[in-house]
Each structure stands twice: as C-alpha cells, then as structure tokens.
Symmetry: C2
Subunit: 442 residues, 2 copies
C-alpha cells in the first residue's frame, strides 16, 4: 500500500493545514535552490549539455534561471537541475545526504511556467513540500544500503519527488498520482561512479525531467503500477540492493515528521564533511597575525576519505580537498564559488599555505566537529574547536547568511545589482499570486 498511501497523502495535502515552520523551511529551501541554480547556470557542464541538446528544444515556455531566456519545459527542468547541483552548493537532507530541492523545484518551476493556469506561491510551496517529503522519506526507507552499494540517492529518489510535486500542481487524482510515481520510479538514474565528472550533476537534472515526464504521461492515462514502490520487483526491493526497504515505516510518518525541516544549507560549495574544519579556518582568519609555520587539522575519518586530496589541480578537485578548503578559509575568511575558481586553486599564496596544512583523522570526533590549530613562526598557537559546523541542524544558516550566500554566488553571473534583485524576487516567490511571472524575472 506504500505507493497508494503516498499518492493519497500528496493529493490531500493542503496549504492551509501546513505548519508555519514547514512553510518557512520550504521557502528557505526554494530560495537556496534559486541561488544555487543561478550561480551554476553559466558553468561549462551546463553549457555543454545546452549545446548538445539545443537542436531538440521545443516551444520556449520555461525560464533558464540566471540566463534571462526560456526553453521548453523538459529541457529547462534538465538544465536547471544540472545547474542547481554543479557547484555542490545545494541543500542537504543530512539523514540521507539527499539534495532534495534540485530535482523537485527544477521540474516544478519548469512545469508551472509551461501550463496555462496561474499557480500561487502558496500552491508552489505546497507542491514543493510534497515533493521534498517524498524524496526524503523514500531515501530514509532505503538508507544506507542503497547509497552504500553505489546509487546517487539524490536522483534515484528525486525523480519520484519531482513527479509527485508536478502531479500535485496538475491536480492529479490519487490513481494517476500513483501511476506517475511508478513511471518516475522505473527511471533509476544515478551511479556514484560518476562523481567527479559532468554526469554527477546530470543526475538531478535528469531526475527532474524524468519526474516531469512521469506526471505528464500519467495525466494522459498512461499506466504503470499502483504497487510500484512496494511490489516484490518494484522500486524498493530492487533498489535497496541487499538491504531491507522500510517503506511502510517512513511513508507512515508522512505529515507527522517533516523532512523539509531537517534540510540543511551548505555555507561552502564543497563536500559537506570538510565544513567543520573550514568553519574553524574562517573563525581564525582575523586572528592570524604573523607568518604561519604550520596548520594542524583534526577531523572525523570520513573527511580524509572523501576530501583528502592533498594537491588539487583545479576548482573541481579543490572541492574534494579539505586542505584547499582550510587554506582559503584562513586566507580570505570566506569560501564561496570564487574561492573555488581554477585560478585560486593554483594561486601560489594558496598553494603555499595549503602545503603547510596537515590533517589527522580522529574516530572520537563527530562528523560535524573539528579542531583547527594554526602555529605561527613565533611559536604562537591559535586553536579553534568547532563543536557543530555552521550549516548543521544545530547551527543553521540564518536568513541573512542564506542571503549572503545567494548574492555572493549570483553576483558572479548577474552582477551586484542583478544578484540583489534576484534575491528579493526569490524570497518573495512564496507570496506571489502568479509564480510564472515571478520566475521569468530570475
């Protein structure tokens, strides 16, 4: 009954009964998504995909965020989805490391602009919430074996979240919603082997497009299975890959435990595991007066496993280097997309400081904890213990910090004034009467 339960829950979800804290969390997720997508919109990965696929573009209805241009809704979902993830700067549902908003919002915004009837900000946030809850609950149900074996959980769950969100805005009945879920479920995009290549961010883009297509087909009466998630050879059992899917348990909590409230936002555009050490570096930035002899970093073992690259050669590799992250944090007191430009990763001052950093794995630390110690030539030791990193659930980014992150990354694409205007528009979108006309300005 998991599929039908999810379908009924989504169909019956109402804006008027959503807790304020849920709506606020959805609004922050959407805002952060728009900033990341604009920030990623001129990335070479997006450009290559656009060049390859533009000969197939259909009627231009839907905005490419940050580009002030429209393309067809399917390709807009795909390209915006790629852009949302390409800087590894998007949101993280910490319990599953799903980046939930990218696939869901990319499909949703593309569809809202495509269709004729006006959709209000409230309807948008409701549909977005339905999609995010779907992706995260499904992720929890298959966690951790699904991710461990090698699936990119953001996209394997994201296509279903996207289908539910678009289906919600379409007003599908529960039967068609279940078919939409099934059509999305049967398109399991995303292998972790692709991490480090253009295809990593293709995954959430394709998930958005797959979910959109699923809802469109289901609306037309295209059938799949009303037991798509829970059947013996359905999504859960096939994709759990050796584990035991817990669909009943987690889908049973829909509407009582809200996953969107457990969605966190990255302060830095790189692997989340190195954020605590970088937070320590930023906190020490103002205190370092004098020449640095060495830097000692003590972190959770996963940090070195995932981001242990000693000598990154470009911006992409820099994202997998806690050494680069701490170096720019100490040097510049910030670590936005600009600090991950190829030129910065190769800058002699950055490289010199990076080479002075040593890191130790400590099993006794939590994943969001770190010690950073700067030793100056004169023997002074400056130490910082980060108990919880900025961006964790304990120390969430404030709205002001989210705004700073938004403007900081959008400036590189839209300029200062454009970024400020986009930020205002993105914060307001939950209140507008017609989302489509608000989106086209972004």
């Amino acid at each position: 009954m998991a599929t039908l339960h999810l379908a009924h829950w989504a169909v019956n979800l109402q804006h008027s009964t959503l807790p304020q804290s849920v709506l606020l969390a959805a609004r922050r997720s959407l805002y952060n998504y728009i900033g990341c997508t604009i920030g990623g919109s001129n990335h070479p990965t997006v450009q290559k995909a656009q060049t390859a696929l533009s000969p197939f573009f259909g009627p231009a209805t839907s905005t490419l965020l940050g580009r002030h241009s429209k393309i067809d809704a399917q390709h807009a979902a795909l390209l915006n989805g790629i852009a949302s993830h390409v800087h590894d700067y998007d949101d993280t549902h910490l319990a599953t490391i799903i980046h939930p908003t990218g696939p869901v919002a990319s499909a949703l915004l593309a569809y809202v602009e495509f269709q004729k009837e006006a959709v209000s900000g409230g309807e948008l946030l409701t549909a977005l919430t339905a999609g995010i809850e779907t992706s995260c609950k499904l992720g929890l149900a298959l966690w951790p074996s699904h991710y461990d074996v090698g699936w990119h959980i953001t996209s394997t769950t994201g296509s279903i979240g996207a289908a539910v969100a678009v289906g919600k805005v379409m007003g599908l009945d529960a039967e068609r919603m279940a078919h939409a879920i099934g059509i999305a479920a049967t398109q399991a995009t995303g292998l972790r082997e692709m991490f480090g290549s253009d295809t990593k961010s293709f995954h959430p883009g394709r998930a958005a497009q797959n979910g959109l297509v699923a809802a469109l087909l289901a609306r037309e009466g295209f059938t799949s299975s009303s037991a798509a998630l829970e059947a013996k050879r359905g999504w859960g059992n096939v994709l759990v890959s050796g584990g035991e899917p817990q669909l009943e348990r987690f889908l049973g909590e829909l509407g009582s435990v809200w996953e969107v409230e457990r969605n966190a936002f990255k302060p830095f555009p790189c692997g989340i595991v190195c954020h605590p050490a970088m937070d320590g570096g930023i906190q020490l930035h103002g205190e370092v007066k004098g020449e640095v002899e060495g830097v000692e970093v003590r972190v959770h073992p996963l940090v070195l496993e995932l981001t242990g690259k000693k000598t990154p050669r470009d911006g992409l590799e820099g994202k997998f280097s806690v050494f680069h992250g701490v170096a720019v944090a100490l040097l510049f007191g910030k670590a936005g997309p600009a600090e991950y430009a190829d030129g910065v990763v190769r800058d002699s001052k950055v490289v010199a400081l990076r080479d002075k950093i040593s890191a130790t794995a400590d099993e006794g630390l939590r994943a969001d904890e770190a010690f950073v110690t700067v030793v100056l030539k004169d023997g002074t030791r400056l130490e910082k213990h980060v108990v919880h990193a900025i961006g964790s659930l304990e120390i969430p980014m404030t709205d002001e910090q989210l705004t700073e992150k938004f403007v900081d990354q959008c400036e590189l694409v839209l300029g200062k004034e454009g970024a400020r205007k986009a930020s205002e528009g993105a914060w307001a979108i939950g209140d507008v009467g017609d989302v489509a006309s608000a989106v086209k300005g972004l």
Copy 2:
C-alpha cells in the same frame, strides 16, 4: 578495462570485416524491428505518450515509423521504441531474453535522419551490430541475477547499446565513446513490476532516448567515467544485484561470438514461453475436423507461471494466456496481432474453445517443447509433439515467414499495398546509399 575495451571495439568495428552471416542477421533484426514498430505505431500506449509529450516536440527531423510524419529525434527515438515493443512481438536474444533491436534501432534511425551527412545502409548495419552486441554481452554479464531481482534487462542494457550505436555513426573516438557508455549506464530504466502496463514498452523507448542523449552529450565533451561499467560503484556491480558481474568474460568475446546471430524472432505477439504449444495448435489446425471435446496441453512449468491466465478479458491479458494462444492457433491456424484484438479475446467461439483447454506443467520438457492433444467428440485423438518451436534458434523463421509476419501486422496500419511497399523498403535498407531518405518512406 571493460568500458574502454568495449569503446575501442565499437570504434574499430568495420563493415568490410563483418562476417556475411552477421550482416544477414543484423539485416533480419532491422527488418523485423521495422515491421514491429509500424505494427505498434497506432497503439493506444504510443498515442497517449505522443499526446502527453507533443507540446515539447522540437524541430521535426525524424520519422515516426508507420505514421508518415516526422518529429524531433529524441521523441522519435522514444515513441518508435515504445511502438517496437508494445505488441510483445519484437526479437528475443534467447540467452538473456533481451529484445535488443528496439532501443538500438530506434535511437539509430532517429539520429541518422537528424544529422546532415548521408549514412549508408552498410554503416547503419555496422552501427546496429555494435549496439546489439553491446546490449547482449552486457546482459550475459549480469544474467540471471539482474533479471531475477526485477530489472527489465531490455532497457537497462538497451540504453548502452543505443549509445554505442549512435556514437559509432557519429564517429566518436574511444574516449568519448567511453563517456557515452557511462552516461547511458547511469540511466538504468526498467523495473519488471511494470509488466502488464503501458510503462513496460516505455522502457525500450526511454532506453533509446537515453542512449541517444548519452552519445550527443559525450560528443560535446560531457564526461562520465571511463570505468563506468566495471568500477566498484559502476553499472555492473550496482545492477547485478547480488550476483557476480562477468564483464571481462563476455566483453572479451566481442567480435568472436556474435550475439546478433543468436537473436530470434517471435512468430506470435505474446510471451515466448507459450509459442511451442501455439505452434502445435497451428500444426493441428488443418487436421481438426469435427467437434472438439477437449484439448490437453503439456508444457514446461514456466509456461503456466508466466502465461497461465485462464480467462483473459482483453487483448493485453490474452498475451499472458497460453489458453487463448492455443485456442486461436487451433481455430484460425495463425496468431498475429489480429488474433489478439479485444474482440477476438471476447469472441464466443474463441471463449468456448479456450474453456475446453487444460494445461499440465511437465518439468521433463524443455522450454521450447510442447505436447498438444485435441480430443474430438467422436473419440479421435490428434496429437502433436513440438520438439522445437517455430522461431527458436533450431527452427528459425525463414525470410518468407518474417515477410509474412511483417505484412500481416503492417496491413492493420498501412493497408495491404502500404504494407507490401514498406516490406520492400525495409528489406532494402541495408543496401541504400542514404538511409535517411529510405526511412522517411516507412
């Protein structure tokens, strides 16, 4: 090295060195594909998908087979792929039960018409062979655990075969071919839970589109992984689902054992397991003179497991009923798409005979073997032992039988004269200088 090995093999494959028997098998596979795709082109499943997605169609370059109209290449690959499979009448690589030509040829033909340079029939058959070998070798490498756990092996392997075929016609170098393989591999469409719904035939269609998109992206320099198939968290290990992938072994046989030669063609548009019994029914058709008291069918146990529906209610259910299959075989001496129309499944004469059929599972029989006994009211017993069913590798369909199958199903779409002309065009396509101009007539 599996990914790079496959990429190099495909890039280096040459028409001039392909054995004649391989080219002949490829030509028969293509011919059968075209017939099935035209035959399926007006099916409601295809129509629903077309209606749902037509608002997104881009420039019309590529033929919808059987419709005398063009749409953009991506959607042509999708819709032709759906049509190729929708009657369950397509080819079968018996060792893996992959239907290999649908995804590969749908992508290939759509791309050939899209691009500017003329592609010859020989080049087409070479690329088709590259794609079919790819799909089938990959299927063998993951067989049987991949299928057993619930993957629709036709589409999970088909996207990669399609990418290789399109990449071959594009002239990708080995590096980009490897990336195309990876982009296709990361899109694992097809859960068996969808069998019996519209989404089953969506699978090969989407595989065709995914493979086409993979090749287009790779040509533009979009990267994936050059170890996409064999890496720890790559396609083979993730999708084998508990088994042990045998990539080295089977990809090592590329070019020495040709899978396209082991591709069989269905004489009847239904599950292949009930073909032996239906073959027996057809052989007895002329002999039954007098009223039938009962029919006894003895078959391999899988027949009743997969096609044991006693009282099918429509054409789709009829495909999963050995009882319906044997009834029409005995009554009409044939079993084409016309015999699976809803009206025939509900016809009182068919139902009356069907109800007289009893079936027994016999573990001692091979899957392509059956005994059919008709008992007449006067006590006469007519018995037929089918040692190998028509359409098996031992008793392959002749070119004449393939032509009859083609014309029989295309007649329902194109009329008698149109079907005959299409058949001539489809047989000739391997010899033409410009495939695109030949395809647009189909």
